[in-house]
Amino acid sequence: MKGRILIDRERCKGCRLCITVCPKKQIEISPKLNTKGYYPANFLEEDIPDTGKIECTGCALCAITCPDVAIEVYREEKKTSKDDTD
């Protein structure tokens, strides 16, 4: 299953807790400051258009841990058995 996360740069305070919990190590600190003066977290796979190449599984551990509700998680919907037969 593939997923994506969306980090709100302006809400993030760069505490790095999401980085410590990500099992795929796909979050890093951005080199650019946000308007509050923090270096926010950055999703490494943000610009990969091909979902097949994404490592993020949408496990949401980062979002569960994020103290600032700065992360939204999206996950590919599970294929139902009906879809499989199509």
Binding site: G3, V21, R75
Partner: protein, 245 residues
């Protein structure tokens, strides 16, 4: 792709003012998620504390009523007795509930008031600058216990949850932590159970949540959550302290 995680409805859009890595905002989110899941947003009243979370009314999209310092349990008691159909919760820190508000809290628990207390334990007074609180661990350095807390000078860490468990009116008391994803999920379940105890009109419920305070502990957020897991949980073990629901 389908959105599977986002801001709960019961939280406003305002960005949190808490320091990076603070546990308060995680707990705010968990309480809001539980309020959403139980569908009680329109009839919930919260009582924010004095302390770092004093501005909690800026974040929760439910009715909030600020109480004088330490008196949240008394204010919540009054509201719950007049408005019996409302869900009333208090949100307190350790300095608030275990020092200034001890009397109110113990008697509210003993009377079996149908309120839910969220007790955030970070072992220091956060907002005022990291002074020693009743819950400060032995040997822990704070601005008022330089060189570490000494038992014969400063007393021992107070385990308020165990004290409240002795009160006959308390129904559900659990201690959890928000220092790792597993603990956060566990905390949400505990908060949900505590609200359900109130909805079923059974008695007093409280969830004590061990939470990191990187700023006043003078640690990085990563070290602070590790300190909760490795040191704080030895003195404040994570468990269901009382459940007679």
């Amino acid at each position: 792709m389908k959105k599977i995680f986002g801001k709960p409805d019961a939280l406003k859009d305002n960005p949190f003012h808490y320091c990076p890595g603070c546990g308060h905002s995680i707990i705010h989110r968990l309480v809001a998620e539980v309020i959403d899941e139980l569908g009680i947003k329109d009839r919930t009243i919260g009582v924010p504390p004095a302390g770092c979370a004093v501005l909690a009314y800026n974040y929760f999209d439910v009715d909030m009523c600020e109480a004088p310092h330490g008196r949240a349990a008394a204010v919540a008691t009054g509201m719950k007795r007049i408005l019996k159909d409302r869900v009333v919760f208090t949100y307190q820190g350790d300095g608030y509930i275990a020092a200034i508000g001890t009397a109110e809290t113990i008697h509210a628990a003993n009377r079996g008031e149908r309120i839910t207390a969220i007790f955030v334990n970070n072992a220091v007074y956060g907002m005022t600058g990291g002074q020693m609180a009743p819950t400060t661990l032995l040997g822990q350095e704070t601005t008022t216990s330089p060189g570490g807390r000494l038992p014969l000078r400063d007393g021992f860490p107070l385990d308020l949850s165990e004290m409240l468990a002795l009160a006959a009116g308390s129904v559900y008391i659990e201690r959890t932590s928000v220092s790792n994803p597993k603990g956060i999920i566990r905390t949400k379940k505990a908060i949900r159970k505590a609200f359900e105890v109130q909805l079923e009109d059974k008695g007093f419920s409280l969830v004590e949540i061990l939470s990191a305070c990187p700023t006043n502990w003078k640690m990085s957020p990563k070290d602070a959550v590790r300190w909760v897991d490795e040191t704080m949980t030895k003195i404040f073990p994570l468990k269901v302290i009382k459940d007679v629901a």
